[in-house]
């Protein structure tokens, strides 16, 4: 799956945790989940679990710790899907 396609699907995962939907629509790989999208850090585990369920994958702890930006999320997903 191309990174662009993962990004579009990731928007759906992030949607319930993002207050500013317009900002979400315009995210790119450099967008930081907490600092830019203002996602509460208490929702970071939710996002990982939702992404795992969406792609039927398991994101390991090391990869999860590296997730700061949308690009980090895409990396964690891309390395697990065929």
């Amino acid at each position: 799956m191309e990174r662009r396609a993962i990004l579009e699907e990731l928007k759906k995962v992030l949607y319930p945790y993002t207050e500013n939907k317009e900002l979400l629509e315009n995210i790119d790989e450099h967008t930081a989940l907490v600092k830019d999208l203002k996602i509460n850090s208490a929702n970071l585990v939710d996002i990982i679990i939702d992404a795992e369920a969406k792609y039927t994958i398991e994101i390991d702890f090391d990869s999860a710790e590296k997730i700061i930006t949308v690009g980090d999320c895409i990396n964690a997903i891309a390395e697990k899907i065929p």
Binding site: N20, A42, F61
Partner: protein
């Protein structure tokens, strides 16, 4: 990181860290699933929940209590290490006990020993951390603000923190500056103050924590810190009367 660590190792509190969790914003069922809590708690930390006898703590509240401790520690140490990433499993809580109206924890992280105090009411958990077990000079507070948007939450937590600070530093022209990648900074007019500040908001709650400076000869020179010195003397009296109490009779669960 090394700077903070070396100061903490000598018993000097150099930073501030806090967190707040609105339990209504969390999902009890999801939190109680292994897939969720195993990303927050290590196997060694799970028995800490069983050791909290005498409390009414559900497992999901325990998970969020531990999260708030770990997030507070992360905020504390990341002040000196802005590139640090929050990894809950790498911030081990070694002990946890009920102590009158709050929970006290011991955390060992990167060679440092830190202490936490968590206050759990019906729908909210608030935690503050310190490198000093007695939390001397650490101040904290919480307010309920309804459920406004992020910008309003951010503005209100600053307003409440400044109001609290103004009682400690009367006469100072205080303002809070948020740096791009770093923690909030407290300024008096055009001068940065050595008062680390930590802010948190979640759902309808905002919380703040800060550490007042130890009295030094250079610090006494400013009007603001003359006021702080006066306050610290007052605090010492309060400690003697037991208002800023510690709970040496309680045993840690570990």
């Amino acid at each position: 990181m090394m700077h903070v660590g070396s100061d903490i190792s000598t018993g000097k509190d150099m930073s501030a860290g806090n967190d707040i969790i609105a339990l209504a914003e969390t999902d009890n069922d999801r939190t109680s699933r292994y897939r969720f809590y195993s990303r927050i708690l290590t196997p060694e930390e799970l028995p800490l929940c069983d050791g909290l006898t005498g409390g009414e703590l559900s497992f999901s509240s325990f998970v969020w209590l531990m999260w708030s401790i770990k997030e507070s520690v992360y905020k504390y140490v990341s002040r000196a290490d802005p590139g640090l990433r929050f990894a809950p499993l790498k911030i081990p809580v070694r002990g946890l006990r009920i102590c009158e109206d709050h929970y006290e924890g011991i955390i060992r992280y990167g060679g440092l020993t830190m202490f936490s105090r968590s206050f759990l009411w019906d729908k909210v958990i608030m935690t503050v951390v310190s490198a000093c077990e007695d939390f001397s000079n650490v101040r904290w507070g919480m307010e309920v603000i309804g459920n406004p948007d992020y910008t309003t939450q951010s503005a209100l937590v600053r307003k409440f923190a400044l109001h609290s600070l103004s009682t400690d530093l009367p006469g100072a022209a205080l303002r809070i500056i948020k740096t791009l990648d770093g923690p909030p900074e407290l300024w008096d007019d055009e001068r940065s103050l050595d008062i680390p500040l930590s802010l948190a908001h979640h759902g309808p709650y905002v919380a703040w924590s800060y550490r007042l400076p130890a009295i030094s000869s250079s610090y006494r020179k400013s009007a603001a810190n003359r006021a702080a010195s006066s306050h610290l003397r007052r605090v010492n009296l309060l400690e003697i009367t037991g208002l800023n109490r510690s709970c040496s009779s309680c045993e840690y669960s570990s």
